[in-house]
């Protein structure tokens, strides 16, 4: 390392505490121009704290940043921009009804003529930036008409229009298809070849290994490993992230499930073009997976079963009896639960406590005297504490604000919300999205436990590996139609992907 030239950007001894919790501890990081620098680590390991510090969103307690040999103070986002640092977050901060050009130029210094904005020159700046990364679509289209992948390109163009020397990307492929991801990888490589530094943050380790010239691994607020390409394989990377050896993902022992009387059944369920004539059965003791691409109708089926959307055709059967859940409260009363896809916006009351968030769906059972509307705080405490222990949710107390927990623990708390004596079927939509590997395994164990306890667990996931390691049976949807069902050892990532594309393109466009 000593022989390396001085890095373009040097972070030295960054430390940051939130309350009593250490988020960053004496972190050093070097970023060279023209490199793709992978940043990996479990949730809460410090990646986002570091990025937010560099972006000027938060101020570290101590530490320095040196850019191009000059010590630079980044106290606010404009400082970061002036220093040539650009940040693209998963949420993509674009104005939906502006065109790409408008978005690219938004907030950028514009060329002036006679004190007025010179739109012609400004436009050329935007166009040049977009052309640099090979943007094909017309820049005059409104951003809300673009695909997610195209929006990413707009964000990158926006960074380039401001002469960014470093672009940090947070989970860029989370919502992209395979083909779109590869398109983005090409852009990333080209930019690096052009002298731009890319800080690449992702949970998808294959991607990170494939793209990065160097990888920095975070654990518990510290840098635990800085590896050059080729130093680490996936296994080694996982070891560095988790701090212990993780057994390679393997399928659980095939369970012998008595597939006679389904506890839950969808019978020719339809809604518009999203869900067409979908049927499947769920048997006691098994974990059922709903696979397919984003938009294939998986979440929609769950919402229908949960009464969140109106069913237009067919019906569901719960333990042999037809149920018509036309409202969520009715579905809940019938014993159907849903852990939604969007944890923060659809699941959590972020400002409320862990206990509150766990108990909110079962308040009637926590009354002091049944029939009277008064709650027993003791019953609520006992239930919450029991679940925290049972699922080993990491929190300082059940009264802590749930917004302060890590993603994995928040997810476990949401799962816990539905663990009631009444629950019969639980839908889990993307249960391990944005969750680190350790938490993911614990969530999987909890889901398996549900099935063992006789609760029907239906897992929706875009992560084919997750379906492969977790499910006893997988029903794959494609464009609202069931394109296949696979059981036991038939369940492979390859097979799920094939079925996911079954109707779109028989020749198989995906690589």
């Amino acid at each position: 390392m000593q022989s390396e030239p001085t890095a373009w950007l040097q972070v030295r001894q960054f430390s940051k505490h939130f309350g009593g919790a250490r988020a960053l501890s004496e972190v050093d990081l070097d970023i060279h121009r023209g490199e793709v620098h992978g940043l990996v680590g479990a949730n809460g390991a410090g990646k986002s704290t570091l990025i937010r510090s560099l972006a000027g969103v938060i101020t570290p307690d101590s530490g320095t940043v040196t850019i191009d040999g000059v010590e630079t103070r980044i106290a606010r986002p404009s400082d970061a921009e002036a220093a040539g640092l650009a940040f693209i977050h998963q949420e993509l901060n674009l104005v939906p009804h502006f065109t790409s050009v408008q978005n690219i130029l938004l907030g950028a210094p514009k060329a002036k003529r006679f004190g007025m904005v010179d739109w012609k020159t400004s436009r050329r700046v935007a166009t040049e930036a977009a052309e640099r990364i090979g943007v094909q679509f017309p820049l005059d289209r409104r951003v809300d008409e673009l695909s997610v992948a195209e929006r990413w390109l707009v964000m990158i163009s926006k960074a380039l229009a401001r002469n960014a020397t470093m672009i940090a990307m947070d989970e860029p492929t989370a919502s992209l298809s395979d083909a779109e991801s590869h398109q983005l990888f090409t852009v990333v490589r080209d930019l690096a070849a052009d002298g731009v530094a890319i800080l690449y943050v992702s949970h998808r380790l294959d991607e990170v290994l494939d793209l990065s010239d160097r990888i920095t691994v975070f654990r518990d607020g510290r840098v635990t490993e800085t590896a050059v390409r080729g130093d680490l394989d996936k296994r080694g990377l996982i070891r560095a992230i988790v701090g212990r050896e993780v057994a390679a993902a393997t399928r659980p022992e095939a369970k012998v499930v008595d597939r006679v009387d389904p506890i839950f059944e969808a019978k020719s369920v339809s809604r518009g073009t999203a869900v067409k004539d979908v049927s499947f059965q769920l048997y006691k003791g098994e974990v059922l997976g709903l696979g397919g691409l984003v938009g294939a109708g998986r979440t929609e089926v769950a919402r229908l079963a949960f009464g969140a959307d109106k069913i237009e055709g067919g019906h569901f059967e719960l333990q042999g009896k037809a149920v018509a859940p036309n409202s969520v409260p009715l579905a809940v009363a019938n014993g159907i639960g849903l852990v939604p896809e969007e944890r923060r916006s659809e699941g959590l009351m972020l400002d409320k406590s862990v206990a509150y968030n766990m108990n909110i769906a079962v308040l009637e059972s926590l009354r002091s005297i049944p029939g009277l509307p008064f709650l027993s705080s003791a019953k609520g405490r006992v239930r919450a504490q029991g679940l925290v222990d049972q699922l080993s949710i990491k929190t300082s107390s059940i009264n802590e604000r749930i917004g302060g927990l890590s993603g994995g623990n928040q997810q476990k708390a949401l799962l816990a919300r539905w663990l009631t004596p009444n629950i019969k079927v639980l839908f889990l939509d993307e249960p391990s999205r944005g969750v680190d590997i350790g938490a993911r395994q614990e969530i999987h164990a909890a889901i398996r436990q549900l099935a063992d306890d006789g609760i029907g667990a239906i897992v929706i996931s875009s992560d084919v590996e997750e379906l492969a390691v977790l499910c006893d049976r997988v029903v794959v949807l494609c464009e609202g139609v069931v394109s296949g069902e696979i059981v036991g050892d038939e369940i492979t990532e390859q097979k799920i992907i094939e079925l996911s594309y079954a109707h779109i393109d028989p020749q198989g466009e995906n690589e």
Binding site: M1, Q2, R12, Q13, D28, T59, P60, D61, S62, G63, T64, E71, R73, A75, F306, A308, S327, V328, P329, A331, V332, A333, L338, P340, S345, E346, G347, L348, M349, L350, D351, K352, Y356, N359, I360, A361, L363, E364, L366, R367, P373, F374, L375, G403, R417
Partner: protein, 338 residues
């Protein structure tokens, strides 16, 4: 790569960043305890300036008595804000209720024990209409409640364009002005009972927990099986009842039913509720906070009148308090998440 050469720079920047953290902490303390400090400050200042008139039991009871009506209507408003909605009709509901209750008991000769429950029921009905418009028709709460409130102004005119003062039964007057028990005027008791009930609902019942969930994250509440629309309608109905109580008490105090008598409570109630939300809990609306907010406004006004401040000063004080209150509440929410 050698940390030692970089240590001085690191230390330098450490001292440079520290004030940001300190300022943040100070702001958090101000936003959480600022209202209480302000209340105590006012009490201390007024006591020093006017020891014989301000810090006396009669004056203290006077302040509480005057605050009672505001506290009741503001507590009702708190319920709608807890579920994340607004109610701009409460002042008009109070005026309307105050007018028709006197009409019932004085003009129509209904017994007080029938007239008052009837008016409270009407208050609940108006609130339910508000709730219906907001949840089922999906009209923005500001517009819906402003519209309903304005309609009530018209209905009040239609009911009686002049004050109803003749034939008001003594037992109606005695509700607010009856013989004090232990020297404490009736409205204070009524306020305490109303606030206690709302506090219990909000904190000790499942309905109250659901209300907080609806206000905290409506989508999450819906996906937890909570009947969001019903919960909101309940909040609006409660606000309507509380407004009707305030209106009734005001008419009892005035001894007459007068048009637009209680319209001004709207602004006081809003100021109190927002001041309260910045008290103790970070930007959350809660009953105890609302009571403290009401007391701050009442003590302020009391001080103004004791020191003989010119009349024009009152709306200035009121407006400033409202702006300050919402500002503090916003600050409290922001810094609680830092």
């Amino acid at each position: 790569m050698t940390p030692t050469t970089l240590a001085p720079a690191a230390a330098g920047s450490a001292t440079a960043v520290a004030p940001g953290g300190r300022r943040r902490r100070v702001l958090m303390i101000i936003s959480r305890y600022g209202t209480l400090i302000g209340l105590l400050g006012m009490i201390v200042a007024f006591t020093i300036k006017a020891p014989t008139t301000f810090l006396t039991l009669p004056n203290f009871l006077n302040i509480l008595n005057q605050s009672s009506l505001t506290a009741i209507i503001a507590a009702g408003l708190t319920m709608t804000l807890v579920v994340g909605e607004f109610d701009l009709s409460i002042g008009y509901v109070a005026s309307f209720a105050g007018l028709i209750v006197v009409g019932f008991v004085a003009r129509d000769g209904l017994p007080v024990l029938i007239g008052i429950p009837l008016v409270l029921l009407i208050g609940a009905a108006i609130g339910t209409v508000n709730g219906f418009l907001v949840t089922k028709v999906r009209i923005n709460a500001v517009i819906a409640t402003l519209g309903v409130g304005t309609i009530l102004v018209g209905l009040g005119f239609a009911y009686s364009s002049f004050p109803i003062a003749a034939g008001v039964p003594a037992e109606f007057i005695s509700i607010a002005l009856g013989k004090p028990i232990l020297g404490i005027p009736n409205p204070i008791f009524i306020m305490l009972v109303v606030l206690a009930i709302l506090w219990v609902i909000l904190n000790k019942t499942d309905l109250g927990q659901k209300m907080q969930a609806v206000g905290g994250n409506i989508e999450a509440a819906r996906l937890s099986g909570i009947r969001v629309d019903r919960v909101k309608m309940f909040a609006f109905a409660t606000a309507g009842v509380c407004a009707a109580i305030t209106g009734t008490l005001l008419s009892s105090l005035l001894g007459s039913g007068t048009l637009a008598a209680a319209d001004g409570y709207l602004l006081d109630a809003f100021a109190a509720v927002f001041l309260g939300s910045a008290t103790l809990r970070d930007g959350e609306f809660h009953i105890l906070g609302t009571l403290i907010g009401v007391l701050i406004i009442a003590v302020g006004f009391n001080g103004l009148s004791i020191f003989g401040a010119p009349t024009f000063f009152q709306p200035i004080f009121k407006g400033a308090i409202l702006v300050l209150a919402v500002g503090l509440s916003t600050l409290a929410r922001r810094y609680s998440k830092a």
